[in-house]
Every structure is written in C-alpha cells, then in structure tokens.
C-alpha cells in the first residue's frame, strides 16, 4: 500500500481530533460531576432524569403543603383542646351550682365566670392560623366565624391537602361541626343557657345543662380527635414522602451523576492516548522534515 504525505498528515490530524474530543468530554464529566447534562449525553437517561425531577419536585411540593396543613391542624387541635378544657371548667361550675347549698348570689357570680368562659371559647373558635386566616371558618378564612352571639358566619367547606398520589384529606376543621348545632350541640347556646339558668337562680336548669355541656365537650373532643387522626396520617404520609424523595434522588443520581472512579480511569487513558497522538504526529512531521533536502 502506498502511504503518501497527505494520508500521514490527515491520519495524524484525525487521531488528535478524536482523542481531543474524548478528552474534552471526560474532562467536562469530571469537572461538572454530571454524566448526563444534555439530551444527547443519553436520550433515554435524560428523559428519565426529567421525569424523576418532576416526581421529586412534586413530592417536595407535597411535603411543603403537608407541613403547612399540619401546622394548621396542630393549631386547630390546640384550640379545640383548650375549648374542651374550658367546657370542662364550665361543667365543674354547673355541677357546683346545681347543688342546693349555693344561693342566688353565688349563681350570679358563677354566671359571670361562665360568660367569661364562653368568650374564651369564642376566642378559640375565632383563632387564626399562621397565615392570618381563621382556622374554623371553613373556606371563608377572612371572616370571623363566630359573632358575639355565637352565630356561625363561616361555611361548611374545608380546604384539602394531597397526602398521597391523588389522595386528599381535609386540612382544616370546620367550626360549624366543632362548635355549632350541625355538629350536634351549639356550644355557645348551651353556655348561654347555663348563664341564663345561673342568672335566674334556676337550679333545675343548671342541673339540666350538665348533659348538654358534656355533649358539647364530647363534640369538641371528637373534633380534636378528628384533627389528631389527620395529623397522624399527615405525619405518616410525610415519612412515606421523605422516603420516596430519597429513593428518587438516589435513582436520579445514578442516572445523572458521574462515576468518578470510571471517569478518572478513562480520563487517564484518554490523556495517554492524546499524548501518544501528539508524539506520533511530531515524529511524522520530523520524518517529512528529514526528506526536505529532496
């Protein structure tokens, strides 16, 4: 086979270009830590990385939403627990005042205390969340849900939160179910009835309020329990979501990140190949130069 100068030089240029291209690719991988940065680095891997990125973003976003919902439910649970405690105090007063040993002046004084307790419960029922919205107003979160008379101004709807793929739960407790008649007992009306009985020195009326106060308290406890159940489910879902995020991040890392050991080895080989290509080219040029006298 005839080997001409043009073939020699063209081959040398091709060797250098090829090794240089490989060297560039490997250097970029080693420097960025990414084996797949653009679609052409691995079309299927890139598409998979995008899909995983979408899933990770979705899971992380869901985590944030669950954290917000959890904070709201925790505040709601606290308000309901405080309300139930207040109801317990009201019942204790009613139990005391149902006793015949107390007189009208005692009951009048007790009525004042119960009125204060009622206002305390109303304050809890009108509690606001971290975002300033009323916790128990349903979705009318800018409306104070309970007016001074105990009338409910919110609605029966609830905000929801996604806690698993396509699975939603209420992220709020509606005040109408916890404090008002649709939930079973109208807590404020029952306290108002107790106040009225105390003010009227109506011992039988005070005694009759014990059952309604118990029912009201149980209603608040049940609402608190409902919030607690949802909190538990959220905590559990957050754990599952954390694990899913970690798994997806690991999988994406495997697809996207550079295998440093492999790249370092390949890089060393490519550097050697590049050096050899340069040396061979130099020798070829020297060979050509040695024929110059001709």
């Amino acid at each position: 086979m005839r080997v001409t100068e043009s073939i020699r030089l063209a081959d040398a240029a091709r060797w250098i270009t090829q090794t240089q291209t490989k060297l560039d690719r490997l250097s970029a991988q080693a420097a960025t830590g990414r084996a797949v940065e653009r679609p052409s680095d691995g079309p299927a891997a890139y598409a998979s990385i995008v899909r995983r990125g979408e899933q990770i973003a979705r899971l992380e976003s869901r985590q944030t939403a669950m954290e917000i919902a959890r904070a709201r439910l925790e505040l709601s649970e606290g308000a309901l627990a405080a309300s139930a405690d207040v109801m317990l105090r009201a019942r204790e007063i009613a139990t005391q005042m149902a006793d015949g040993t107390f007189g009208a002046s005692d009951r009048a004084a007790a009525a004042i205390e119960v009125e204060l307790l009622r206002e305390e419960i109303r304050a809890q029922a009108n509690a606001r969340g971290a975002d300033g919205g009323y916790l128990f107003a349903g979705t009318l979160t800018d409306t104070e849900p309970f007016d001074p008379g105990g009338g409910y101004l919110g609605n029966g709807a609830t905000a929801r939160v996604e806690y698993a793929e396509g699975q939603y739960m209420a992220s709020s407790v509606t005040g109408v179910d916890a404090f008002a008649a649709p939930g079973g007992r109208d807590v404020f009306a029952d306290l108002d009835a107790l106040v009225a009985a105390l003010q009227a020195d109506d011992q039988a009326g005070v005694r009759a309020s014990l059952d309604t106060l118990d029912a009201g308290r149980e209603q608040l406890v049940a609402a608190r329990g409902g919030a607690g159940v949802r909190l538990g489910r959220l905590e559990s879902a957050e754990g599952v979501t954390d694990a899913a995020v970690a798994l997806q991040l690991t999988q994406r890392g495997r697809e996207q990140d550079t295998d440093f050991a492999a790249v370092a080895t390949e890089l060393a080989l490519a550097q050697g190949a590049y050096q050899r290509a340069l040396t061979v080219t130099q020798q070829l040029l020297q060979l050509t130069g040695s024929l110059e006298p001709f």
């Binding site: 001409t4 063209a10 890139y46 598409a47 944030t64 939403a65 349903g138 979160t141």
Partner: protein
C-alpha cells in the same frame, strides 16, 4: 554508417538527457505538491524509440501523465458530500438542543416544577398575596421558557435558510469557476503540466461543490467534466447552471437548478452536501421539534385553562383563561402556540383573579381549583403524559436525533478518510518514492551526460584521425 551511428547515439543521449531533465522537473512538482491533498501525482511519460533505420533506440519524453483514478475520485466526492451533510445536520442539532434543553435550570422541566409547586403552595394559602405572586412568577417562567425555546427554533430555521442560500451562492461561484476551467482544459494540449494543474484546480473545486451539494461526476474525452445533482445537470462543459434556495407556501425549503428558463426542483433528491444536511435539519428535525413543542404548549395551556375556568377567584368571579395568545384570545390550535404563549393580559395586574377555589368551596380559603391545577403534574395532559414526561420525550427526541447524527458524522468521517486514502494511494505523492525517482533521474542525467562526453570524444578522435 559509423558517422551515422555516432549521430544516432548523440540523439539518443540528447533524448535521454531531456527525459531525465523532464523527470527531475516532474519530481520537483510532486515534492512541492506532496502535502496538498488536492494535488494529483504526475509522472513522466516516456516512449521507446525503435531500433533500426536511422533510429538508434533510446527513450524520449513525450509529456506528463496525471495519476488520476476516476473511480477513487468519484468515491471521494460521494463520501465528501455525505460527510458534509452529516456535519451540517449535527451542527444544526447542537443548536436545537441548546434551544430546547440548555445546560442550566432555564428549562421547561424546571419551569413546570416551579409552576406546580407554586400552585401547591397556593392551595394551602389561597388568600396569601405572596403565594399568588409566586404563582404569577412561575407562570411567567413557563411562558418565558416556551417562548424562548420556540424563538430559538424559529430563529434557527431562519438561520439555516439563510445559510442554505449562502451555500447555494458558493456552489454557483464554484460552478462558474469549474466551467471556466473546463474550457481552458479543453483548449490545453494533453499530457502537459499546465493541463494537469488546471485539472487539479478543477477537481478541487468539484470536491468543494460536493461539500455543498451531492454531485455525480462524468468525464468527457477532452478532459472536461459534467456535474449532475439529483439527476439534473449543474454543469456541462463550459456552461454552468444556477442554484436557487427558496421557501414554498408551507415555509419548507426548496432547492432548484435553474438553467436558462428552466427550473428543476431537486429538493426531494438531495442526498448529500451541506445543503442536504441543512434542509434535513431545518425541515425535518427542527420542524418536528417545533410541532412537538407547539403541541406541548397547546396541551398545557388548554389543561390549565380548563381547570382554571372551573374555579372561582378571590373576588368570587369565575376563573378565566390563564394562558392566551398575545392578543388575549385562547389558542385555537397547536400551530405556533409555543411562540405566542402568554399569560392572559391583566392577570398579572390582578393576582386576585387567580382562581384557587370553587363555587362549592369558595374563596378565600377554598383550594380545590389550585389542587386541580397542581394535579396536572401527575394526571397528565390531553396526550396522556404529564408536562414533565412530554418535555422529557421532546428532549429525548432531540437527544436521539443528535446521537444519530453524531454517529453518522463519525461514520462519514471514517469513510471520507478511507476514500481519501484510496484516492491518495493512486494519486497522492509519497516523498520516499519521489526520492527514489529523483535519484533515478539524476543518475540517468549523469549517465546521459557521460554518453554525450564519450560520443564527443569519439567524434573528436574521428575528426583528428581524418586530419
């Protein structure tokens, strides 16, 4: 008879001297052209003088032969055209990939993620102005990414068209030069260095044409070439046609050969050269990516708009379109949707108009519509794919096209190198061979000189003996 023999020997020596001198000149030419791949090796054409009669044998120089292998050259021309097409396509796809999936966070995939995260956040704090501002910001990002990608692809198609027109002008320029060289070659006597040099120039130009458009080369008896592309003559002897690159009503690129009043469309028959690569990249690759991007933009806008229209905003008003064209009208079809992707005018000025609630779970705390929009991230669009999946498929498609084009380019670089090596085997210059040839002609020259000296001495002796 003896006198006559000395004269003959003198002629033989003179012819030999001329042949050796010519050979040395040819070797010199070859050495000068050794590093030029366009140069075709020359050799001395020698003929033997018959013995007998007045002839005393020996050789004489009859001209210069050009070691041209028509088949190797045709193969090289074909491979050059294929490599150029692959190179042009690869270059275009690199840019398309950069427009669609840049190596940064400024991708549609990240914009989608931020968009859905913003709606998730809005879902939990639907009356929070910051959450609404975040939604608007994320919406702007989605719109910006669609428009940037679409503009990038549109601009690239424009650039590819302009580049194709420039390539056509370059072809025209070279065809004109080849036509002139064809005429000069036909006028030059055969077997001369001048003619060989013209042929070298002409063949180099033929390769330059092949780099731009695939050509078949037909050689005439008088040394001229005819160039055909797509079965149509680009050049016949001294007459060159003209190439035109234009756009058809569907904005597809057309390449035509114009000869006088006749125009022949060869677009569908382009098979090589940069024009073929540019045409394929522009009207097949980039056009397909544009269609997919437009469809994704349309599907995304349609799904978000539909969900948003089912909602109620903070003012208790039913939700309007979220994304529209720049005039505020909803998209009627996918065509051009990505470039026209706009957040409905007025929405940015009134963040309360983002409908997060529904009539059954009204504002400000209702979040069902916000959740419905964020659920699109997993439920999918009309295509059945989520926006991220659709973008991943689109990016995968450009990636596959690039990988395929890169592989084709590597293959073509190999085949061109092989074709060049084959052509060089017959037509290239080997300095080692030339060294041997130079030595041979030098010795022949020295020997001829010696013969001349000897004959001169003999003739001198004869003259002196005659007295």
């Amino acid at each position: 008879m003896f006198r006559s023999s000395l004269n003959s020997a003198l002629n033989v020596a003179a012819n030999s001297l001329q042949a050796a001198s010519g050979g040395t000149a040819v070797v010199g030419e070859n050495i000068t052209g050794a590093n030029d791949a366009r140069y075709v090796r020359r050799s001395v054409r020698l003929e033997t003088n018959p013995l007998g009669g007045a002839q005393a044998g020996g050789v004489r120089w009859t001209g210069t032969a050009r070691a041209f292998d028509v088949f190797a050259f045709a193969n090289l021309v074909g491979e050059t055209a294929s490599r150029a097409a692959a190179e042009a396509r690869t270059g275009a796809l690199v840019e398309a990939e950069g427009a669609l999936a840049p190596v940064s966070d400024a991708t549609l995939a990240v914009a989608f993620d931020d968009f859905f995260a913003a709606f998730d956040r809005l879902g939990q704090t639907p009356d929070d102005p910051t959450a609404r501002a975040t939604v608007l910001s994320s919406v702007d990002q989605v719109a910006a990414r669609f428009v940037e990608a679409a503009n990038g692809l549109n601009s690239q198609r424009g650039t590819l068209f302009v580049e194709a027109q420039a390539v056509a002008r370059e072809v025209d320029d070279r065809l004109a030069q080849i036509a002139r060289l064809n005429s000069r070659i036909a006028a030059r006597p055969d077997a001369t260095s001048g003619r060989a040099e013209l042929m070298d120039q002409r063949d180099a130009l033929v390769r330059e044409v092949a780099d731009r458009i695939d050509v078949s080369v037909l050689s005439d008896d008088d040394g001229q070439v005819t160039l055909l592309s797509g079965g149509t003559a680009l050049l016949e002897g001294g007459r060159a046609a003209r190439l035109t690159v234009s756009l058809d009503p569907a904005q597809a690129m057309t390449v035509a050969v114009v000869r006088g009043a006749t125009t022949v469309d060869i677009t569908g028959r382009l098979s090589g050269g940069r024009l073929a690569g540019l045409q394929e990249a522009r009207d097949l690759d980039v056009a397909s990516l544009q269609t997919q991007l437009d469809q994704l933009a349309f599907d995304f806008a349609d799904a978000v708009n539909t969900a948003h229209q089912g909602g109620v905003d903070l003012n208790g008003v039913a939700g309007d379109d979220f994304f529209t064209d720049p005039t505020g009208l909803p998209f009627l079809g996918a065509d051009g949707a990505a470039a026209a992707f706009t957040v409905r005018p007025g929405l940015r000025a009134d963040p309360d108009a983002i409908a997060a609630a529904t009539a059954t779970a009204p504002p400000p705390g209702g979040n069902d519509t916000a959740l419905a929009i964020s659920a699109l991230a997993t439920q999918g669009l009309a295509s059945g794919r989520t926006p991220g999946e659709a973008f991943g498929d689109l990016a995968g498609d450009i990636g596959r096209r690039r990988v395929e084009a890169d592989a084709d380019l590597r293959l073509r670089e190999g085949t061109v190198a092989f074709a060049l090596a084959e052509q060089q085997k017959s037509s290239g210059v080997s300095l080692e061979e030339e060294l041997v040839e130079l030595s041979r002609f030098q010795r022949a020259f020295e020997a001829s000189t010696r013969v001349l000296q000897t004959i001169d001495e003999l003739m001198d002796e004869v003259i002196r003996s005659i007295g």
